[in-house]
């Protein structure tokens, strides 16, 4: 399935827990929303991906994402720092960042929004809720949400 504009949506999933990454991937498959998910396991890798450093230097390996789905608790560079750096970078700040984390801590919420997160999602412990949340997320972002056509650096 494709998005309304015809081109699949590219998502950068930053998630250190492989199980959680698998959950996201499977749910996207279930909801049959056209997308491309690129997965990195730590904050440093996310930044390297976005800035095309090291092994992410080739645009084919690391296409510019339409959306970043970001966990907060990450090895090396944590999610809040990744968020800060994205929003501080003139080339990257246009990319919407949606936080997906287990943390309900008020401090994390406030800090994330202050740093420019578009949305903040808490991973539900309940299987159905998790599924429905990701489904709604998919429809909203991948079906209804409009992204700019000209992707700088894409």
């Amino acid at each position: 399935m494709t998005a309304i504009n015809g081109s699949p949506v590219t998502i950068l999933l930053v998630e250190d827990d492989p199980a959680h990454a698998e959950i996201v991937r499977r749910n996207f498959e279930e909801s049959r929303i056209a997308n491309r998910v690129f997965h990195v396991e730590d904050g440093q890798a996310a930044l390297d991906y976005l800035r095309r450093h090291d092994r992410y230097v080739h645009p084919a390996v690391s296409p510019r994402p339409d959306l970043v789905l970001l966990d907060l608790r990450l090895p090396k560079v944590d999610g809040q720092e990744v968020l800060r750096q994205i929003k501080a970078d003139p080339d990257l700040k246009g990319i919407p960042v949606v936080v997906l984390t287990t943390s309900k801590a008020e401090g994390d919420l406030v800090s994330a929004y202050e740093r420019g997160a578009c949305s903040y999602l808490v991973k539900p412990v309940d299987f159905d809720k998790f599924r429905r949340m990701l489904e709604a997320f998919g429809f909203y972002w991948l079906l209804w949400n409009q992204f700019p056509h000209d992707k700088p650096g894409a």
């Binding site: 959950i23 730590d42 608790r73 090396k76 944590d78 801590a105």
Partner: protein, 704 residues
């Protein structure tokens, strides 16, 4: 200031009491003195009058006796002479000369025996028959009056005194015989010179006295006649007269019937104390007197003595009061001084105990005074400049601008209370100390700020504890956050994959079922590991074994036994210093420390062909610093800060939960030490350094 006020109040009270006491004492003394004086005057006057009256009585008795003697003599001689005259010569002028000679002889004898001035014998017609001396002149009216009375009464009559031609004062006694014969009887006259006996006797005084005087007066027509001459007025007797209209004169009063004590002016106008009395059997009055000056000379002397006594007593009272006052004052002052000294010492002690001193800043001059305790807090002495810039120099450079601005703009400029914590560099030892300054502004009558008074307290200990507490709270919050997040993660995984598992089973997708189960098992194992690690971490906080000295080499050897397998698998060489050094602490924990550091080093060796781990000792500021150095992967400096965090993993694919270095840090901190890491960068190895201070407190972290 307070004791001074108290002292002044007590003094005023005391002075008031002493003044009142002294005044009462003086009044009582003066009144007593006056009463005594009055009583004494009355007593002396009464005594003196008693004396005078006694003298007067003696004189009256004497006059009376003298009169009676005259009268007796006159009667006796008269009877005799008249007998002669009547028998022998009824007419003496015609009688024989012999009879006349006998009469004259008899009269002469009578005159000589009786000591009379003259003796006359009169005929029945009152004519002079004979006289004892030469023929007298005409008889004085007083004598003629007496003869007339004597002829009528046939009783002896004493004539009133008169002044004879020869200047003598005469008093004559006359007797005329009664009807012893038919022939008219004659009379005899015994004439006495009053100046010879009577008057001197009246005037005489039994004791020497400068003013005492006694005299006789009688009334003659409208006058009072002074019979005797006067002590203070020149003139012969019987020549001084005063008018009876001068009723104030004591003589006139006496003649008007007043008797007894008299106090008042006499004939000279001088005050006298006098006795007035009539002389019985005569028309005379006797005045006996002494000048009041003489009488009261003693009183005056007494008065002086009493006055002197009174004022002496008052002066004594004043002296006693003054002495009492001064004693009280000095006792009071000593007491007040003792109170001040004691309270000053208490204040100083209290300030020293509290590390708190007080100051007063004169805002206009910019100078301040400080208590000893404050100088102790600042580590300065009296020679240190006590002005605003001197205070500014004390401030820690990082706080200087902020704090001086606060003082000038906010406090003095804005009229606020000084209430601020800031750092100083203590002058004595250069140590950085936290102090808490408080200060209230004082204003003058115009409302201008003149002074600031307040306290400065060394709060370093509290600040350090606060900072420590803040850090621990922060760590605690991070810990709870981490734990809740990291424990929640596997639960999310398990729950979700249980859901997937159910779906996959319905679809009979065996491959996916196996995958789902694998994810669930991994998550459960991860949770088990996390819980085990948390338990371990909480155990570290409770130092359960008594601290002991353990050789570094022994600790490393024991730790290596625990990780020997991994070391051997990686083929790493471990080099331990031979320098004798021992660590003081909980043996099992210290072993765990080295075990984790060695494990960490081996784990991150990367593909180093010649893995080496070196353990040794350095010295920094005289304190031993243990290091564990490897030549492995090293650390990206960007990530070094998160290295010791709980469940932090720089490499997601390495085994373990990421608790190892958190545990290491915890063990070091529980022993009061510090741990830090240095790496020149990825691929260049890493060096962990830590301190385990000897004798550091090990129980203060128990609550963590």
């Amino acid at each position: 200031m307070v004791p001074d006020t108290l002292h002044n109040r007590t003094t005023a009270w005391l002075v008031g009491r002493l003044r009142i006491g002294l005044a009462i004492f003086s009044v009582v003394t003066i009144v007593s003195g006056l009463a005594y004086y009055t009583w004494d005057v009355a007593r002396i006057q009464a005594d003196k009058y008693h004396d005078i009256a006694a003298i007067a009585q003696t004189k009256v008795t004497l006059i009376d006796r003298w009169r009676k003697e005259r009268e007796f003599d006159a009667r006796r001689f008269g009877a005799d002479a008249i007998l002669l005259n009547g028998l022998d010569a009824p007419r003496p002028d015609a009688g024989p000369a012999a009879l006349e000679a006998r009469l004259r002889g008899r009269a002469t004898l009578e005159r000589e025996v009786g000591g009379y001035a003259d003796v006359y014998v009169l005929g029945s017609a009152g004519e002079l028959l004979v006289s004892a001396r030469a023929a007298p002149g005409p008889f004085a009216p007083a004598l003629l009056d007496a003869i007339r009375v004597a002829r009528e009464t046939h009783r002896p009559v004493l004539a009133e005194p008169y002044l004879a031609a020869n200047g003598e004062g005469r008093i004559d006694a006359v007797y005329c015989a009664g009807a012893t014969s038919e022939a008219s009887p004659g009379c005899v006259v015994l004439s006495s010179d009053a100046g010879e006996f009577l008057f001197p006797s009246v005037q005489a005084w039994p004791t020497p006295s400068p003013s005492a005087e006694a005299f006789l007066v009688r009334r003659v027509g409208a006058d009072a006649l002074f019979l005797t001459d006067l002590r203070f007025q020149k003139g012969p007797p019987l020549s001084i007269r005063r008018s009876m209209s001068e009723t104030r004169l004591p003589a006139v009063q006496a003649l008007n019937g007043v008797t007894g004590e008299y106090v008042g002016p006499d004939y000279r106008g001088r005050a006298v104390l006098a006795d007035l009395r009539a002389v019985p059997g005569t028309s005379w009055c006797l005045l006996t007197k002494i000048d009041a000056d003489e009488v009261f000379a003693e009183v005056r002397y007494r008065a002086s003595a009493i006055t002197l006594g009174v004022f002496g007593l008052i002066a004594l009272g004043a002296v006693v009061s003054a002495y009492f006052y001064r004693t009280q004052q000095s006792a009071e002052r000593a007491r007040a001084t003792a109170v001040i000294v004691r309270s000053e010492r208490l204040l100083q002690d209290a300030q020293r105990v509290a590390s708190l001193g007080h100051y007063e800043l004169d805002v206009r001059t910019g100078t301040w005074t400080s208590s000893q305790a404050l100088e102790g807090v600042f580590g300065i002495d009296a020679t240190y400049p006590h002005d605003v810039s001197g205070w500014g120099s004390l401030l820690h450079p990082d706080d200087r601008d902020d704090t001086t601005t606060y003082l000038q703009n906010y406090v003095v400029g804005g009229g606020h209370t000084f209430d601020k914590e800031y750092r100083i560099v203590r002058v004595r030892d250069g140590e950085v100390r936290w102090v808490h300054g408080l200060g209230n502004l004082k204003r003058d009558d115009m409302g201008r700020v003149t002074h600031m008074f307040g306290t400065i307290q060394d709060v370093t200990v509290r600040k350090t504890l606060e900072e420590d507490l803040r850090q621990r709270n922060h760590e605690m919050a991070r810990f709870v956050y981490t734990v809740s997040h990291d424990l929640k993660s596997p639960i999310v995984t398990i729950q979700t994959f249980l859901g997937f598992l159910e779906e996959d089973r319905k679809r009979n997708d065996e491959t996916r079922v196996q995958k789902d189960i694998e994810f669930i098992r991994n998550a459960a194992e991860r949770m088990t590991a996390l819980l085990a690690d948390l338990l371990e971490l909480s155990r570290v906080g409770r130092v359960s074994n008594p601290p002991e000295d353990i050789r570094l080499q022994d600790l490393v050897k024991a730790a290596m036994e625990m990780v020997a397998g991994r070391i051997a698998r990686r083929g790493a060489t471990v080099i331990v210093t031979e320098e004798p050094i021992s660590l003081h602490g909980d043996r099992p924990r210290l072993m765990e420390l080295f075990e984790n550091l060695l494990d960490n080093a081996v784990k991150f060796m990367g593909d180093q062909p010649d893995p080496r781990i070196e353990i040794g000792v350095e010295r920094a500021d005289g304190q031993p610093v243990i290091f564990v150095r490897d030549n492995g992967l090293g650390i990206d400096p960007r990530h070094a800060s998160r290295l010791f965090g709980l469940f932090e993993k720089l490499h997601p694919d390495t085994e373990g939960t990421g608790i190892g270095l958190a545990l290491v840090k915890r063990i070091v901190e529980v022993h009061g030490g510090r741990i830090w890491v240095h790496s020149d960068g990825p691929g260049l190895g890493a060096t962990f350094r830590f301190t385990i201070p000897r004798g550091a407190r090990q129980t203060d972290t128990e609550a963590r």
